[in-house]
Symmetry: D2
Subunit: 295 residues, 4 copies
């Protein structure tokens, strides 16, 4: 079992750290919020009062942070943890940030003889609690193999997308496609309903036809079609519109950088942007269905 | 076994009629093209020289026609077959037309005591030949039950979408969603490739994540990722851009009529429209991947 | 002065007919609504109790009807006025309908030796009352010259767009572009405001730069920037969202027919469609500004 | 007359510097390219071999640089010119960059007691040569008044958009709207042509109607409609697609930052992005007309 420094124990990081504790690791946690630290401490983690206490002596450092700027400041600039991290410590950043941020981390780490990888997650808070997250890793083959056992203690699927930054790039592509499909599904269901179809019957037909997708199968956005999904709970819980907007924003930035044309992705950003602005930011992202309803 | 009148034996109708012959039915076929009629005659169908010879005495009439106008002219206006069809004959129109056309047919038929249903197909020429088509039926429960055995001789899945026109509406919704997802998949794959990802690795990751859809699973648009699909055969064969444009055109018309907003569907129409105009109309619809490539 | 039969005296047709009266013409009016007829009768027009009374003996017939179907039924099918119109009567249809409807009218008229032209208007109710409408005419050179004096009594500008249907086509193109520009202007103004700019200053700068357009110049959509426009009157009055949706619907149909790609036009339709569905159908079309506001 | 340090004398900066020479100012120029420096030297400017030689002793510094990163590096970070600029020197940055870059410059300058403003231009190379550029200034009232005489020696219109960064924001809003209108105009013209209209006649009608905009008036994108514009010269010269993509990229970034929804702007970016990728990057931006043509 390893000694693991964990930085950022919020909605996602908290349950992830607790799963590492459950798996038998020695976890030392740090967060700006003492209240959040208390929760993981109760579950068996050790509390650190400064970030530097977490990294010294750790076999592995796992971080889960809200933005690339905060992540870079923590490791490279302001807090500059890379200055005190041991060379044999593996840094696993699970934050969802731009591939460029992840590559900056890897390059700055390498300059100090440290190995860092990006391992953004999908699966939401539910997956974090249940330990069924998906990790999409960017880094060398060796680093991926070294990280896999630790990541497997927090999730079910661990993919290797490519070199540093590739984990972020793959997650961004996936989530952009997810947004497009969710909106497309919502549009198609509303078009059917407007033309007299039963949304349940239409969903079943499309699910067994070429319209099949993840949303139709597991996350139907039309209220009343599927049990146990946000659409049947007034769009509470799930993956917030605000977070989808964050991920789509990253997709836009990445596409601008690589001069890629993503017309559907751009339109998805516009629609989720408008939806968020109209007071739906804290609802689940399947609430985009509401945009197409008559009022 | 039934006596079946079959009108329209082209790329799709031809193999469908032949599967009815194989299943033991007595098939009398009609088409404007004598050459097409010769093909089904060789396979065991009887040839009729005028459409009226096909419908008199038939237990079931199956039609497969290129447009709603042609279909309405055949049954209701110019040729007015409804005037001579027996009251106990079941009319199954498999053409892809507007729900309104199908409802017009059903209403005009009912006025003469005849039952007509819409049963548009998906599955393409390959499915027509293999007898694995999907039929999406619009009509009463009784009519659906009566049609099912005959449709099952030509296909694998037979869905009941609702009343008359519902088969068309459901097919249109499905194909609009398919177009959106195909373009979204192509965009996401190109964005990944532009950022250094291997399209095969990215496809596998998204297929096991929330980006999963029918195109990723069975019809990957990126050349070289999947064997046996149009993308690995220079986008030859498959479902033509021209046909996708026809179906998206129907979706636009239906949405205009029901005042539904379908922003993703409208954009898909624009992109497939531009793609078709640039000389790609006869390519498979996954060739939309080419729009995002750098040249 | 001429004897003019006028059919359809609603919001637009009413003031148009009254301007013809003012110009000294003998106007005989018909409408399904007696209340509307009373208004123009008070202004000096003669009332007819059936449409046929309006057309017999008229030098010119002017019609202003809500849809192509109603127009075709009136002249060609149900009421079939063409059967009783004199050969030397000029038919001027000012309704906004599909070019195909106008061509159908012209062809059916020509078969009876009658000349018909399309002359859709722009300028709204205000322009109809003030007699400052713009007419966009489709028809032969001779017909255009014959129609011009009468049209000039109701408007300020009379354009000749081309042969029959060209008036409709040109109006549709213009209004599609207008919708695109109105939305673009609203987006740009909101983007500026979100970044600290004064909408009045930004409007002035863009008006003197390459962002200049008709909306910025005469119809600014941002509340408080311009006096006397709907934006400064809670978007009351003006050109309704419902009417813009009708015109954009015609643009979509025309584009489907000619296989033209109009991505911006399609998106404009989607946005106005969503806007109308959310209870804004009766507001002025510059109220699209509201879609971009934070709430 | 003033002593003016000029940094960046390329396509735009070169002629701008020469107009300052013509106006009688003492201009000291710097550029990474010696060849470019030779051109302005021949026109009467003094050459500097390092950037620092340009700024010391100058009354005014004007810079024209290709990106925000380069601009910030020059003034704040790497070259750090702000360390040696006199407190009574006015810094006018004419580069088109993000408002954030301009605000960073202003804040860093203010910390050293120096006044800096943003003054991005529109009008292109033609306007730079002719001295008819438009400047859109962000900065205090005093700074604006101080800058105005110098800017007037290089241009015709000098607007004050607001505080620091407002010049950039206003230019970005304007150019986003320009892109939307140019594409909308191209779509509308093609739709008209596809329906039998003469593009010249349609342009004239729209120009006198609510479809009026800058492109229709001065920069018609349809070949043969207007003399002396890029559309009538195979889209050579003018404002490159690559530059429009740069400006639209800035608009996207700014919108992401302020969480503004710009659906038309996003689509414009997608279309110009696709257009640029297909080998049209060096053509004038009105060449977007080609995207809608049948081939």
């Amino acid at each position: 079992m390893a000694t693991i420094g964990f930085i950022g124990v919020g909605n996602m990081g908290g349950p992830m750290a607790m799963n590492l504790v459950k798996a038998g690791h020695c976890v030392i946690a740090y967060d700006l919020s003492d209240a959040l630290l208390d929760i993981v401490a109760e579950a068996g983690a050790e509390k650190a009062s400064v970030a530097s206490d977490v990294v010294v002596g750790a076999d592995v450092i796992v971080s889960m942070l809200p933005s690339g700027k905060i992540m870079e400041n923590l490791y490279i600039h302001e807090t500059a943890l890379l200055d005190i991290i041991d060379q044999n410590t593996l840094v696993i950043d699970c934050s969802t940030v731009a591939p460029e941020n992840s590559r900056n981390l890897a390059v700055a780490a390498e300059a100090k003889g440290i190995v860092a990888i990006d391992a953004p997650v999908s699966g939401g808070v539910g997956g974090a609690v249940a330990g069924t997250l998906t990790f999409i890793v960017g880094g060398s083959d060796t680093a991926f193999e070294n990280a896999k056992p630790v990541l497997s203690d927090m999730g079910k699927n661990v993919f290797h997308a490519g070199g540093n930054g590739a984990g972020q790039a793959a997650k961004i592509c996936n989530n952009m496609l997810l947004a497009i499909q969710m909106i497309g599904t919502a549009e198609a269901l509303q078009l059917g309903v407007d033309n007299g179809l039963d949304p349940k019957v239409l969903s079943e037909i499309m699910l067994q036809s070429s319209g099949k997708n993840w949303s139709l199968e597991l996350y139907n956005p039309y209220p009343g079609v599927m049990d146990g999904v946000p659409a049947s709970n007034e769009y509470k819980g799930g993956f917030q519109v605000n977070l989808m907007n964050k991920d789509l924003g990253l997709a836009m930035e990445v596409a601008l950088h690589s001069k890629s044309a993503t017309p559907m992705g751009n339109l998805a950003k516009s629609l989720y942007g408008m939806h968020g602005r109209k007071g739906s930011g804290a609802l689940d992202f399947s609430s985009i269905q509401n945009m197409f309803k008559e009022e």
